[in-house]
Each structure stands twice: as C-alpha cells, then as structure tokens.
C-alpha cells in the first residue's frame, strides 16, 4: 500500500472549531503552551543558573528588550541603526539621578525610563519626516555624536563617566525585575501589531501617504511609537547602569545598536516573541564562543549567516508555523 504525507495547516482550528478546545486538557495545553513555556522559563531560569550565567541572563534580557524596542519601531516603518541612543539616554538619566541627586535606584529607574523616552522622542521629532535609509542614517549618527559631545564638553564625568552608582538592593531583585520588564514588554505589546492602532502603524510602514489621506496625522502616531520604543530601550539602559554601578561613554557603543537588530532579524522580524527568542540565542552563543579567542567574531558571524540563509523568515516564524502544522501518513489508493 502506497502512502503519502498529508499536512494540515492550523490543525487546531480545524479540529476544535474554537469551542472543543476548551473541553479537552490536551487541546488547552496545546494552546497555552506557547504562553506558559516562556513564563515558566522566565520564573525558573534564574534559580537554575550559576552566578556567571545569571549575569549572562541579565544581558540576554537587556538585549531582548532592545530587540523588542527595535521591532516596534521597525513595524512602524522606522528602521533604526541607533538603539544605543535609547540605551544610553536611559543609562545616563538614571546615572545622573542617582549620582548627583542621590535618588534610590528603584526611584531613579522608572523616572529614567520615562525621561529617556521623552528626551529621545523630542530629539528625534525633527527627523520623523525622514523615511527608510535616511532615518536609519540619522539614527546611526546621533549616538556617535553624543559620545563626542560628552568627550568634548566633559559633562557627566566626561571620558571618566560616573562611577559609584548605587546598585539595586539584591541580586534576585535585579534578575526578576529585568525578567518582569521583559515579560511585561513581550506580553503587553504582543497584541499591538494586530490591533486597529497597530494597523495604523503598519500602514505608515507600508504607505504613509495613504495613511495621511485617511485624515490621520502620521507624525503624531510615529511619535507615539517612538516614545514606546525609546522608553523600553531607556529602561534597559537605566537598568544596566545600576548593574554595572557605572555609566560612561560605552553606553552609546555600536554593540547596543547592532546586536538588537541581529537578534530581531535572526529571531523573526515583525514579531516581539521572535525578537526575544533571537536575543536568547545570540547572547549565550556569543558567551559560549568566548573560549575560542581570536576567531570568536568570525564564528559568531558565520552562525548569523547560517541562521539568516537557512531560515530567512526568522526562527520564531518557522517554529510557529511548524507548531500549528500537523503531518500524518495517509494511505493512497493506487
């Protein structure tokens, strides 16, 4: 008897007709697993890891936040090559609040998040009219310019930076705060792209003149997306200031601009979960390769190329597709 493979896309919908799924534990688990796994992972992972990998986890969460922040902007048609601006603004804001005014980290952190968002949005308002590569180039230049300004004017400690920043009260608070923030960003904005509000942002990405023609002020919407994105980025920067107990010119480094883009692209652009997954793959990968020495960057680059060539849609989109597909062998009448 001959057999062939049959594939059902979105099998759960076919099988459940929306109602049945609530009657069966198996189906419910199938639907809930994609939400439960990350939540449980975020809760349990810090407990299982050693001190070194806990630090790596912090870094993963920070880059995941930056990648989410990048993805929200990209979905609204603003390709950014300078996430370091958001990161650095938040980092300096929190550093200044703590160093000069002596604010407690738990007070400085939320204020720096909002202040960073406000300052970045205000700074970028004049260039919101730019599209595509022009916007990206301006974004690339601004953090580099800020580094030189700090160097030349010697404000906020100049090249020395501000050291002796008060850390967060405990290591566990650190871990769960950043994990909580990551979950809040991931699950809070997950549905945004499909909401009517998110559709307007997507529309701006697709065809901004057509959105204008619907009587919508696109600059107002772009500014809102920019504020959401830059606040998320500023939080990650402010958080790192208290982890390193130092803030200085490296916060505007290119790493914070490029790595989030790599994470979002490898993980699956256009989806916040993809951006998170990308960070969870790339940052630990970079740590594992650390032992190799000089050729580390080469290998790292090679992995990036392999991911992008093999799964151009992004790892997350691939997993998502496969998760909802059912394959089985059926007999063919010959």
């Amino acid at each position: 008897m001959e057999k062939r493979k049959e594939r059902i896309d979105r099998g759960i919908k076919v099988r459940s007709g929306d109602i049945f799924a609530l009657c069966s534990w198996r189906e419910m688990l199938f639907l809930a697993a994609p939400r439960l796994i990350p939540i449980l992972g975020f809760l349990i992972l810090p407990l299982l890891l050693g001190a070194y990998w806990q630090k790596v986890l912090l870094s993963v969460a920070v880059f995941a936040l930056l990648a989410i922040s990048w993805d929200i902007l990209a979905q609204s048609g603003m390709i950014s090559l300078g996430q370091a601006l958001f990161f650095g603004m938040g980092a300096y804001a929190s550093g200044v609040f703590n160093h000069y005014w002596g604010w407690h980290p738990l007070v400085a952190l939320p204020f720096a998040t909002v202040m960073g968002g406000v300052i970045c949005t205000a700074l970028l308002l004049p260039v919101l009219r730019l599209r595509g590569i022009y916007f990206a180039m301006v974004r690339l230049i601004i953090p580099l310019m800020l580094v030189r300004i700090i160097e030349a004017t010697k404000i906020f400690g100049g090249t020395e930076g501000l050291s002796g920043i008060v850390p967060l009260p405990s290591k566990w608070l650190e871990l769960y705060l950043v994990m909580g923030a990551l979950m809040a960003a991931l699950f809070g904005f997950r549905r945004m792209p499909d909401s009517d509000y998110g559709l307007v942002l997507k529309g701006i990405n697709d065809n901004d003149r057509s959105v204008m023609n619907a009587g919508i002020n696109i600059y107002w919407f772009k500014a809102q997306a920019l504020f959401i994105s830059s606040s998320i980025g500023a939080f990650s920067g402010a958080f790192m200031t208290h982890v390193y107990m130092f803030v200085g010119m490296p916060v505007f480094a290119l790493d914070y601009s490029i790595l989030p883009i790599a994470a979002a692209v490898v993980g699956g652009p256009g989806n916040l979960a993809g951006a998170t997954l990308g960070a969870f793959i790339l940052v630990p990968l970079s740590e594992i390769l650390r032992g190799i020495g000089g050729l580390r960057i080469v290998l790292y680059g090679l992995f990036l190329v392999i991911f992008i060539v093999a799964l151009p849609e992004g790892i997350f989109h691939y997993i998502q597709r496969k998760y909802h597909q059912f394959e089985r062998w059926v007999e063919v009448e010959g």
């Binding site: 509000y197 697709d206 065809n207 057509s210 959105v211 204008m212 023609n213 619907a214 919508i216």
Partner: protein, 250 residues
C-alpha cells in the same frame, strides 16, 4: 450655481523648477456637482488635485472650501474637513488583507466616533463597505492580501477607502484607467449612488466616453492652463481642446 461654492480655486500657480505645472487655475464647484477634469498627459490634472488636497504646496494662489482658505494645510487636516481623494497609482497597504486596509480610514478621527471602537467592530463595517464596492462576500475576496488582488479590485479598494471617510467632496484620480469596460460599468452605479447621497465629486479621467455620461461639467487643462470649461459636448467642439488632444495640425 449657488452663491457660495463648495470649492473655489482661485489664481493657483505651481512650478517645479522651470516647469509651470499649474498656471493661473480658477475653478468653482457647486455642492452636489460632478466635475470632470480632463487634459492630455502632463497637463497638470494630478498636480491640481495634489494642490487642493495639500500633498503639494502651491507657489501662489488660494483654495477655499466652504469659504475657508485651506492653502498650506497638511493633508490630514484637509481630509478631516471632508475632502478625500483616491490616488492614480493605487496605494493600498500591500502587507494587509483587503478588509484590514479599510481599518486605517475607519480609524480616522473624522469618523472614529460614529462607529464602535471595540476590536472587531471596525472589521464588520469594513466588510460591509467592501461589499458595496463589489468585493463579493461569498467569494471571500475581502480576506485576501492586497498584494495578490488584481488591479480591478485594488481600484475598488481605493474607492472604498475614500467612501469610508464619509467625505463631502470626493476627488477620484483616474479611477477608470486600467479597468475593463465591464469593470467600469460596475463602478459607475457606485458613483451614481454617491451623487444621490448629495456628494460632490471631481473626476480626473482619460476615459472620456464613460466620464461624459455622468459629468455635469468638464474642465480641460493643457500645460497647466484651463483651456475650456462647460458641458461635455460643447467642450469637445472647442478648437483649443481639439488642438491639445490631437496636435497642432488637427
């Protein structure tokens, strides 16, 4: 014509570098009128629309809508006043399904309050509007991605996006171009219906035969200047129009 025209364009000039795209354009439009705007390629028809809708700033001149000078206003404010246009080159959101394309005009502040705000409410309105312009509900065309729709549907989508805004003045930029006779025949009733609802319409067209059947009045442009204005058959008798369309020898 009533004493206060709905739209009054007076002394409009626009030059792109050395090219005089619009040269002293004066047009008045009464409420409920259907005005045809015709002319050879490059005569400035689309530029005139871009000037009225704020997408291009004029070099000189004024545009009054209900006695309000709207020159220099950004496009989104002009739309909120009640002037909506289609684009000659259709501008759908290619990444979205057709009915999700409609959500963006339905999200416009102009009509946001009139329909429900909950997630999914707008979808129902969108599907109704699309059915009106000929997206057959049974065939699920409205659920298809805009990137796979044929030109005929894209033009209808463009029209539906404008109708969704419930404007008082619709400017349709070459709605019929690229469509088959059958498709044009199916869109004409939609336009007739809009007229019955009291909408004022400006149509830019190269398909003169179809236009002349429905237009009250026609304005002919050539090299940015108005060379004729009046009833369609009178206009086509004019020497200047024949010259513009057929060349100097005709």
């Amino acid at each position: 014509m009533s004493s206060c025209p709905l739209l009054k364009v007076s002394g409009l000039y626009k030059n792109f570098g050395g090219v005089q795209a619009i040269n002293d354009l004066n047009v008045e439009l009464a409420e409920g009128e259907l005005l045809g705007l015709i002319g050879p390629n490059g005569s400035g028809k689309t530029t005139a629309v871009n000037l009225i809708t704020g997408f291009v700033k004029p070099s000189e001149g004024e545009v009054f809508y209900r006695s309000q000078n709207i020159i220099g206003w950004p496009p989104y404010k002009i739309v909120r006043l009640g002037i909506a246009r289609t684009f000659q080159m259709v501008k759908p959101f290619y990444r979205l399904p057709a009915y999700k394309n409609m959500i963006i005009p339905l999200y416009s502040p102009r009509i946001k309050q009139t329909i429900g705000g909950k997630y999914g409410d707008r979808d129902a309105v969108a599907l109704d509007l699309l059915e009106e312009v000929g997206f057959e509900r049974d065939a699920f065309v409205a659920y298809k991605s805009a990137s796979v729709l044929p030109q005929g549907y894209l033009k209808r989508l463009e029209l539906a996006k404008v109708i969704a805004l419930q404007p008082d003045l619709l400017i349709l930029d070459e709605l019929f171009s690229g469509l088959s006779l059958a498709e044009v025949a199916s869109i004409v009733p939609i336009i007739e219906k809009l007229r019955q609802e009291g909408k004022t319409i400006i149509m830019i067209e190269h398909r003169l035969k179809e236009l002349f059947r429905i237009a009250d009045r026609v304005v002919v442009l050539n090299f940015g200047e108005k060379i004729a204005e009046g009833k369609s058959d009178e206009v086509m008798q004019s020497e200047a129009v024949k010259k513009a369309y057929l060349g100097a020898e005709a």
